[in-house]
């Protein structure tokens, strides 16, 4: 008797408007928590960094000195060429490991009129000057005092790379390592008319080791 009545009572209880409303509210709250909790404590995803609002917009202007005390390079001097702005740091292991990839990219693409410029992030000029003495680094490495140019380009970490068109428009952004052929493929794509190209090459390094321990 009681076994037959039990499901009926349970069903009747579920039909109760208060219980129904409570269940719906509970589900809404649980759903919201399920979406929000995994996001807490996360760094900006590489997708957020790759989807730069600068894509398709005029590249922010800059004028920076070379680390080895050479000439000043500005956005105006790069006009008329496809140019690649590579934000890096000498303390960034990914950036150091990528030097051979950049050397081969430079030798392949510089002859086709593509300019490569390195912009140091949170890096003293002396460290950059020493870094520039490595074999094969023939492109200018610029010092960005106070990271103001990095701010203008909305840098989340390094390495991050922008491809600028001859008219000064931001055509592509790569986040993370450029890899052996990825940067070349992106440049080829934008030279064939591609715009708003955003590529996630991998994780970015947010801050220098000193800042990571002393930050906050």
């Amino acid at each position: 008797m009681s076994t037959a009545a039990a499901p009926t009572i349970a069903r009747r209880r579920l039909r109760h408007p208060v219980r129904r409303l409570t269940i719906v509210l509970g589900l809404v709250v649980a759903g919201g928590l399920a979406v929000m909790l995994p996001r807490l404590g996360q760094n900006p995803s590489t997708q957020v960094a790759a989807d730069s609002p600068l894509l398709g917009k005029p590249a922010p202007p800059f004028s920076l000195r070379e680390a080895n005390g050479g000439a000043t390079v500005s956005s105006a001097t790069l006009r008329g060429h496809y140019s690649v702005l590579y934000f890096f740091a000498t303390w960034c292991p990914v950036c150091v490991a990528e030097v051979p990839n950049l050397v081969s990219f430079y030798w392949h693409w510089h002859t086709r009129g593509v300019e490569l410029v390195g912009i140091g992030y949170e890096d003293p000029g002396a460290a950059e000057a020493q870094f520039a003495r490595q074999d094969g680094i023939n492109w200018p490495l610029l010092v960005d005092p106070d990271e103001q140019v990095a701010l203008r380009y909305g840098i989340f970490g390094i390495p991050e790379t922008f491809v600028i068109g001859p008219s000064g428009t931001v055509l592509a952004k790569l986040v993370g390592a450029v890899g052996t052929g990825q940067l070349g493929a992106v440049v080829e794509r934008v030279m064939q008319g591609g715009t708003n190209v955003s590529v996630r090459g991998g994780a970015v390094v947010p801050e220098s080791p000193g800042q990571r321990t002393g930050g906050g």
């Binding site: 380009y153 909305g154 989340f156």
Partner: protein, 199 residues
């Protein structure tokens, strides 16, 4: 001195007025409606004042305080859930320096925040925007709170209904007389007699 009301007379007069008011036809039901309306008005008032106070922000007096107020609305791009005002990273310092420069040049808070969004996207905002998809983040807690209040109100109303069905309780006159302990015996007797005569 004789015309001046004594301390005993004034409360008694008030109690008599209350008694007259409560003895009008349909008094109990009506009083319950008044009470409900007062609670709703009180709740709405408290909610309104809280929302208004929450929307008010103190106007910073110094340039540094102004800079910090703007920076506190932006994320540090290289940190985990930290504002550009709190973080001690190169990126946060760059943002603070840029905000200070822009404030000195006469830019408004809105213009500076829009500039940061144009560089980093909407991710840079610590609080979600109060428009578009971000609006749902603001409205969801209000909707859940109102829903929870509705659950409590319905449950309460049903509990009261069940209680009344089980026990009809004393008559209106008895309730009033219980509350008027200082009435004379003659007054009480008269009132009960009036009730009996009317039924």
């Amino acid at each position: 001195m004789a015309d001046q009301p004594t301390h005993h007379e004034a409360p008694r007069r008030v109690r008599r007025l209350r008694l007259v008011w409560s003895l009008r036809p349909g008094a109990t039901k009506s009083r319950s409606h008044v009470s409900k309306a007062l609670w709703v008005a009180l709740f709405a008032g408290v909610l309104g004042v809280s929302l208004w106070q929450g929307a008010q922000r103190p106007v910073p007096s110094t340039p540094t305080a102004r800079m910090e107020q703007v920076a506190s609305q932006l994320r540090c791009p290289v940190c985990i859930d930290e504002s550009a005002a709190q973080a001690n990273t190169a990126a946060a310092r760059a943002i603070r320096a840029d905000i200070a420069t822009r404030l000195r040049s006469g830019q408004s808070e809105r213009q500076i925040i829009d500039y940061m969004v144009s560089r980093y996207g909407r991710w840079i905002l610590l609080s979600p925007p109060s428009s578009g998809l971000g609006l749902t983040v603001w409205l969801a807690p209000i909707a859940v709170t109102l829903g929870a209040l509705a659950v409590v109100a319905v449950a309460w109303a049903r509990a009261v209904q069940r209680f009344r069905a089980a026990d009809p309780g004393p008559t209106d006159t008895q309730v009033e007389l219980n509350g008027e302990r200082d009435l004379s015996l003659a007054d009480r007797t008269q009132r009960v007699e009036e009730e009996r005569a009317s039924t």
